[in-house]
């Protein structure tokens, strides 16, 4: 009854919400959180494909892939926060609309 499309809808929804957050929030940390949502969305999709298309490529390749994504996302968050802290130290702000040195 619950099949692949359902999970894909959830994934699409998460992705969309992530995009919305990415584009509309001022706080840099919120952007980071939105990006995590994006990662999760793709992970859900990957796991769903692994579940419903078992054996199409390697068995459970999607889940292994998702595992890698989790790992990398963790590393990425660490580095991103380090950069964020640096910017905060230098600029005194974390509002992304105030960090615009490359502006015309």
């Amino acid at each position: 009854m619950i099949g692949l499309p359902h999970f894909l809808v959830v994934s699409a929804g998460l992705f969309t919400i992530g995009i919305y957050g990415l584009l509309s929030k001022r706080n840099a940390i919120s952007l980071l959180m939105s990006v995590e949502l994006l990662f999760n969305a793709s992970n859900v999709a990957l796991a769903a494909f692994a579940r419903f298309g078992y054996g199409s490529v390697e068995p459970l390749a999607g889940q292994a892939f998702a595992l890698f994504v989790i790992t990398i996302a963790a590393a990425e968050v660490a580095v991103a926060i380090a950069i964020l802290l640096l910017i905060y130290r230098l600029r005194g702000t974390i509002w992304v609309d105030e960090i615009d040195l490359l502006r015309w």
Partner: protein, 645 residues
């Protein structure tokens, strides 16, 4: 000696190589550059002399054509298509001219070693002289109209460059421009003529065309038109009326240039062209009449004007105009050999007169004859050589000018046209008169009193200046006699048109008459201007005939008329129109183009907000658009294949 015909191409090549060397390699070194130019001219002269003797030794009339570039420019592949050739033509006329060009070029370059010492642009001067020599030789050795035109334009450019040698002086720059523009009118008509010839005859080679003129491809009216168009080129280059106005102004250039270009060679190119294409003119008697009339009118007017000029170079310039007109007159009445012979002798004595004038100018630092005087004792070499030059120019017997001028005047007598004959008589009279006016004013009496110039400073010039003058004076003295005696049948046995004259028919009456007229002129001049023997006052005479004097002194006001008619009217307004177009149309277009870019840039740069979020927005929106496009316009199949199979 006939081996020389295979090496004729060396003659123009040597000065060209000198030009390249001077501008390319030795530009920094004055002495080397000058000597390269001189050596090239001398080497070319040597080959030319061998060429001349080879031609003299020929028994039968003959010509040799060696093509260097058989198909210099071609369109199409069939033989009937468009072909232009470059080559060398070896015949007596060419041989004679080539010797003149190379010799005078070499002599004035030696002269310039001292004359131009310390002057600005010394090396440039020599380089351009070599270029000019090459161009003139290209023109003279040309076997067809095309190459003649190429040489024609090249000498025009060189003339411009050399007249405007002191280009920082506005007068010199203006004179160079004037020379170029005025001759342009003639050159343009010449080009139209060449195009017409090619269109009708499909041939530009002189010798091949010589039989084709009357073959019926063109009506006699057409032949007249062609002849007039070609003659227009000659009118421009040889400064005949109405295109004569550039020659006196060309005196702004250094004196050696005046000697080379505006006496011996370039201005002779017009006469040379008519001589080369004489078949064309002979085919239509009306054109010969035009040539003769125009020549006579120019010659007489110039001779009268020369009597009323005070600038030494201007006097000699008008003399050149007058003699060129005389040559045209000779050609027009059918005295081909005489006219060409006069071209030959005129080169020597006119160059000599210019170099002498230059010597005087170099010593006294003035060009006004009334500031000179008394140079006979103080500058002996110049004085003697100038005397010989003046005697030759006036046509006094034994000197070379006499032989050639007398031949022309005899021919005019023989023609029987009263008007032309009268004009020829007057021309002879005035020729003698103005040249000896110059001589007496400059060389007799005492130096004129001038502020800030001590007469004791006047001295003869160095060897570099005097030796060429001596050489030229020897030639001016004896060449006439030599040519008549050494070549069988005289000069008319060497260069001629139509049946060869086996013996010279000498009209003793005409001989005596023209000698008498010349002597009359000399006498008149001495009566007015010789410091010791003068009886009449020139100033009083000029006042009595004031309108005539005014007309002569102002050169007929032609400059003023042309200025008002053409320069103000046409050129200025054309210039204004072009300027309006440039400012309003072109500048506006460019400005709006630039302004448009600026506008777009100003708007577009607002996209660079520097904020990452805005970029992310653009990214996703763009991605969306791209994917949609991909799906709609053909990517759907790929997508289906990727997931479905």
């Amino acid at each position: 000696m006939t081996w020389v015909f295979d090496y004729l191409w060396l003659i123009p090549l040597l000065p060209l190589v000198a030009f390249a060397l001077i501008f390319g390699i030795t530009y920094e070194n004055k002495r080397t550059s000058a000597w390269i130019g001189i050596t090239a001219a001398l080497a070319a002269d040597a080959v030319s002399l061998v060429f001349l003797f080879a031609e003299i030794a020929q028994r039968q009339p003959h010509h040799v054509i060696k093509l260097i570039f058989d198909q210099f420019i071609t369109f199409g592949t069939a033989p009937a298509d468009f072909t232009l050739q470059i080559g060398v033509l070896g015949d007596p006329l060419a041989a004679m001219m080539v010797v003149v060009v190379c010799s005078v070029s070499a002599l004035i370059q030696v002269y310039s070693l001292e004359y131009m010492r310390g002057e600005e642009g010394f090396v440039r001067f020599f380089g351009f002289i070599s270029l000019f020599t090459f161009s003139m030789l290209l023109l003279v050795l040309s076997p067809n109209f095309f190459q003649t035109y190429v040489g024609w334009e090249l000498v025009g450019v060189c003339s411009y460059l050399l007249i405007g040698h002191y280009f920082k002086r506005p007068a010199a720059a203006a004179a160079a421009k004037k020379a170029f523009i005025v001759t342009r009118f003639g050159d343009f008509a010449f080009f139209v003529g060449i195009a017409y010839i090619y269109a009708r005859f499909h041939e530009l080679d002189f010798y091949r065309l010589s039989t084709m003129w009357t073959a019926g491809k063109v009506s006699s009216l057409g032949l007249f038109v062609i002849a007039m168009l070609v003659f227009s080129g000659a009118v421009g280059k040889s400064a005949q009326f109405p295109l004569h106005v550039w020659l006196p102004d060309a005196m702004e250039g250094p004196t050696p240039i005046s000697a080379l270009i505006h006496a011996a060679t370039m201005v002779a190119a017009g006469v040379y062209l008519v001589a080369r294409a004489y078949n064309l003119f002979a085919a239509n008697p009306a054109s010969l009449a035009v040539v003769a009339t125009l020549g006579a009118v120019t010659s007489l007017m110039a001779a009268i004007w020369a009597v009323a000029q005070d600038d030494i170079k201007r006097i000699v310039a008008y003399s050149t105009l007058s003699h060129l007109g005389l040559m045209m007159l000779g050609l027009g009445v059918g005295a081909y050999s005489a006219a060409v012979f006069h071209l030959f002798t005129h080169a020597w004595f006119k160059a000599l007169l210019f170099l002498g004038a230059g010597s005087v100018i170099h010593s006294l630092h003035t060009q006004d004859i009334w500031e000179m005087g008394g140079l006979w004792k103080r500058m002996p070499v110049t004085a003697w050589t100038m005397l010989i030059g003046c005697l030759s120019a006036a046509g006094i017997p034994i000197f070379s000018g006499f032989f050639s001028k007398d031949a022309i005047v005899s021919a005019v007598f023989a023609q029987g046209n009263i008007v032309l004959t009268t004009m020829a008589v007057l021309i002879s009279f005035f020729s003698a008169m103005y040249v000896f006016r110059l001589f007496f004013v400059v060389f007799t009496g005492e130096p004129a009193k001038r502020r800030a110039f001590d007469p004791k400073r006047i001295h003869e010039n160095g060897r570099a200046i005097t030796v060429p003058m001596i050489v030229l004076s020897v030639l001016a003295a004896i060449i006439g006699l030599a040519a008549s005696v050494t070549v069988k049948g005289g000069f008319s046995g060497f260069v001629f048109y139509g049946p060869r004259a086996e013996t010279e028919s000498i009209n003793y009456v005409a001989l005596a008459a023209s000698t008498g007229i010349a002597l009359a002129g000399l006498l008149t001049a001495s009566l007015f201007y010789h410091a010791r023997f003068k009886r009449f006052s020139a100033a009083e005479f000029n006042q009595r005939f004031a309108p005539v004097y005014a007309w002569a002194h102002n050169k007929g006001w032609f400059d003023e008329i042309y200025e008002a008619m053409f320069v103000r009217g046409l050129l200025l307004n054309a210039g204004r129109a072009v300027q309006w177009f440039d400012t309003n149309a072109i500048d506006t277009f460019m400005d709006s183009l630039a302004g448009g870019y600026q506008l777009v840039a100003q708007r577009a740069r607002r996209l660079q907000t520097g904020r990452v979020q805005a970029y992310a927005l653009g990214l996703f929106a763009g991605m969306f658009v791209l994917v949609v496009l991909f799906i709609v316009f053909g990517g759907g199949g790929t997508l289906a294949a990727a997931v479905g199979r």
